[in-house]
């Protein structure tokens, strides 16, 4: 049987699919958040050097990972929209931008809260902090450019080009730790093994998975609203039960 892979690349069909998928991502996200934070705050042992303060990594690290990955995925969707001229890809890119910006903001905020007891300063002009801040600016630029162009097609394409240009910045964030050797500690999780306690790892990965699920659920929710807004003149929208009433 031939599967039509492109069936769900049309907003008409994807709208229904997204509606069905959202609970499957949202509920596990909530459960995993609760479990991960419980392990992180109650089960995981105290850190030998940083005391109780280190526990903020269970929020800080997943959100900074997400903020960087979401930018790349957003740029990928935007590029697909630009190259293949698919409406849904551009809508997905637009829907992801606020979540990415939110994660970048959380990463900076928790980083500041962590930096105060550890380094004695809310903010240090270290390469990685600065890159994260630039990433937040890039998200805001994407959102602002998209918002200031009235024609949605032009907005999609212009913002897509900006996202692709900006994605040059994301590798710089990653390698900045190696390039400028400054205050920020290197990553503890390496591919060759880790020095972290098992419970800390479990908490970190649980929250990371929860963040991914949350990001997917919220993106799908937002893309449904965007579809409704952009396709409001079409017949199938007016026939939807939630619109009709």
């Amino acid at each position: 049987m031939a599967i039509n892979w492109f069936k769900y690349s049309a907003p008409t069909t994807f709208y229904g699919l997204a509606g069905k998928l959202i609970p499957w991502f949202a509920i596990p996200a909530a459960v995993l958040f609760a479990v991960g934070l419980y392990i992180g705050f109650a089960v995981a042992p105290m850190d030998a050097q940083q005391g109780e303060f280190y526990r903020i990594i269970f929020i800080h690290v997943p959100s900074s990972i997400l903020s960087m990955f979401l930018y790349l995925i957003m740029a990928g969707y935007a590029a697909m929209g630009l190259i293949f001229n698919t409406r849904l890809s551009s809508m997905m890119a637009t829907a992801m931008a606020p979540t990415g910006a939110l994660f970048a903001f959380i990463a900076l905020w928790t980083g500041a809260l962590w930096g105060k007891p550890m380094w004695g300063a809310w903010w240090v002009w270290d390469a990685r902090l600065t890159s994260e801040l630039i990433l937040l600016f890039l998200y805001l630029g994407f959102i602002a450019l998209h918002a200031s162009i009235d024609d949605p097609r032009r907005a999609d394409r212009a913002a897509a080009l900006l996202a692709i240009v900006g994605s040059v910045n994301v590798p710089i964030i990653y390698f900045s730790v190696k390039w400028w050797n400054t205050l920020h500690q290197g990553s503890t999780i390496k591919f060759t093994g880790t020095t972290m306690h098992v419970a800390m790892q479990q908490a970190m990965f649980t929250v990371l998975v929860a963040c991914w699920l949350y990001a997917i659920a919220i993106t799908l929710t937002r893309v449904r609203s965007i579809i409704l807004e952009r396709e409001r003149h079409t017949k199938w929208i007016t026939e939807l039960p939630e619109v009709k009433q």
Partner: protein, 227 residues
């Protein structure tokens, strides 16, 4: 009709834009005066201690150069857009990327080069050493073209939008940060006795990258904005 090469096109566009700029000298001067003013405001803001000013000088000069190049970016395409010239340029059989490169070069010669020439005078106000001034100029020579080229992408994307000027800075400034870091890093390397070549090489690498990609990206951005 004689054979029209890419290089002829480049020269033609640069000459045209320079002539247009010379007919409106006030625009060029405003950018330069803005640069001088911003730099001169810093000592008034932070106090006249020479040791501190000497330390701040590269950063102040670079940030001021960055801001003043943002000011003039709005004019890069807007006049041609408003009178329809840009549309004709896009219809021309020649490469749009080459045309854009010509416009970028002209923009740099009008708004970037005067800043580079003015910078040593302002550097003296901050009591910079001769060696540091030399590195600053080399850095600015390598860096300001990048600002014009990256800025052109933003100018093309925000063409004809309301509030385009502020939006333009919002889009372009984050992308210019590496230039700022390496430019000021080079001058600081002089004062700490380190080698400046690594910073300047990185700036040069960024310049080559920008030369290779930004004209094409800007041309695409123009096509998006004009369709």
């Amino acid at each position: 009709m004689k054979n029209f090469s890419m290089f002829d096109l480049l020269v033609l566009v640069i000459r045209r834009d320079l002539v247009l700029a010379m007919r409106r000298r006030a625009d060029v001067l405003t950018t330069l005066i803005f640069f001088v003013m911003v730099v001169s405001l810093f000592p008034l803001g932070v106090g006249p201690e020479m040791a501190m000013l000497r330390k701040m000088a590269p950063g102040v000069l670079w940030v001021a150069a960055l801001l003043s190049s943002m000011l003039s970016l709005g004019r890069l395409f807007s006049a041609d857009y408003l009178d329809g010239t840009l549309e004709q340029m896009m219809l021309a059989p020649q490469s749009l990327s080459m045309l854009v490169l010509g416009k970028m070069t002209a923009h740099w010669m009008v708004s970037g080069l005067p800043l580079v020439l003015m910078a040593p005078v302002l550097g003296l106000q901050f009591d910079m050493s001769v060696q540091a001034l030399g590195v600053l100029i080399v850095g600015l020579l390598l860096g300001t073209p990048i600002l014009s080229m990256v800025g052109a992408i933003g100018a093309a994307l925000t063409l004809g939008l309301r509030g385009g000027g502020v939006l333009l800075s919002l889009l372009v400034l984050p992308l210019c940060i590496p230039v700022l870091i390496f430019g000021t890093g080079a001058v600081e390397a002089v004062s700490t006795g380190l080698s400046v070549t690594s910073h300047l090489s990185l700036l040069g690498a960024l310049l080559v990258l920008a030369l290779a990609f930004t004209p094409w990206v800007t041309a695409q951005a123009l096509r998006i904005s004009m369709e």
